[in-house]
């Protein structure tokens, strides 16, 4: 059976769920067929995946120097 085609707009709606593997196997198959044929949607997918990787990098949201030390000092002062 041929995979049912899916429009670009429908693909964009699912890009984040696709990355998180939060979709059914059927939908996954339709999306992957679309990505193979559509360079634009593949670019949106790659870009979104890049962003997820970038935001998840441990070098972001670093605590300021001395953060822990000052925190434990506060705790020690508690009665």
């Amino acid at each position: 059976m041929a995979t049912i085609e899916i429009s670009c707009v429908e693909v964009w709606r699912e890009i984040s769920n696709y990355l998180d593997e939060e979709i059914s196997p059927e939908l996954r198959e339709r999306l992957e067929a679309h990505f193979k044929a559509c360079a634009h949607c593949t670019a949106v997918l790659d870009g979104t995946r890049n962003v997820v990787g970038l935001v998840g990098d441990g070098r972001l949201f670093q605590m300021p120097d001395g953060f822990s030390k000052r925190l434990y000092k506060k705790l020690q002062k508690l009665p």
Binding site: D20, T48, N50, L78
Partner: protein, 213 residues
């Protein structure tokens, strides 16, 4: 050292018992793995490092004093993040009452489709890029520029790697809302970071938009 979820929970339960029994040092051990989580949560709401540190300290003190009320049905980390959110939101409300109201009213529209601004072909981002302070700052600024309800979901899911379920519990929104907001946040961020990532940061060239229309 890696622990399974259940080992971690057992270990934490032991530590909590010790703290409640008067051993304060056990609290430091309990807290240590979550320091960055607390800080990241705080800064995702209050946005500046000095306020975030103050919020983190207040949240930790509160967690310490209320530890005996912690119920083991929830995860310790979830409980900590919830306390931090409450402190951070309180701080924001105190500092900017009018602004806070307007942010609160401005609930994002989770319906309707998102149209990517363009389809520039992205090459993978070299990891060394984040060694540069200005680039870390640019990414941070882009995250800060998101609507708070998108930013909160993004920080819990993609920065702190919490599950959809945990995120939904912490923010008090449904799991489908978590997914929709995360989706919006990621695509918006992609649009906002594209000029840097695809242009000046990597090859020193201005960004070439590749619009389909």
């Amino acid at each position: 050292m890696s622990m399974t979820q259940s080992q971690l929970r057992t270990n934490e339960a032991e530590l909590i018992k010790s703290v409640c029994g008067g051993q304060r040092e056990a609290f430091y051990e309990l807290l240590r793995p979550y320091e960055r989580m607390i800080y990241a949560t705080a800064i995702s709401v209050v946005k500046n490092p000095a306020d975030a540190e103050e919020v983190a300290q207040e949240a930790v003190l509160k967690a310490f004093s209320n530890l005996s009320s912690f119920r083991a049905e929830s995860k310790f980390s979830t409980w900590l993040v919830q306390i931090t959110y409450n402190e951070a939101r309180m701080k924001l409300r105190k500092a900017r009452p009018h602004l806070y109201e307007s942010i609160d009213d401005q609930q994002p529209d989770d319906k309707g489709d998102f149209w990517p601004k363009d389809y520039a072909d992205w090459r993978p981002i070299p990891s060394e890029l984040l060694e540069q302070k200005e680039i870390r700052q640019a990414v941070q600024d882009a995250i800060n520029s998101l609507n708070p309800s998108y930013r909160e979901v993004l920080v819990l899911r993609d920065v702190q790697h919490l599950s959809i379920k945990e995120t939904s519990t912490i923010l008090g929104i449904s799991e489908p809302s978590v997914k929709t907001r995360l989706h919006r946040a990621r695509l918006l961020l992609r649009d906002r970071l594209a000029p840097g990532i695809d242009g000046s940061w990597i090859n020193g060239q201005p960004y070439q938009k590749a619009r389909a229309w």
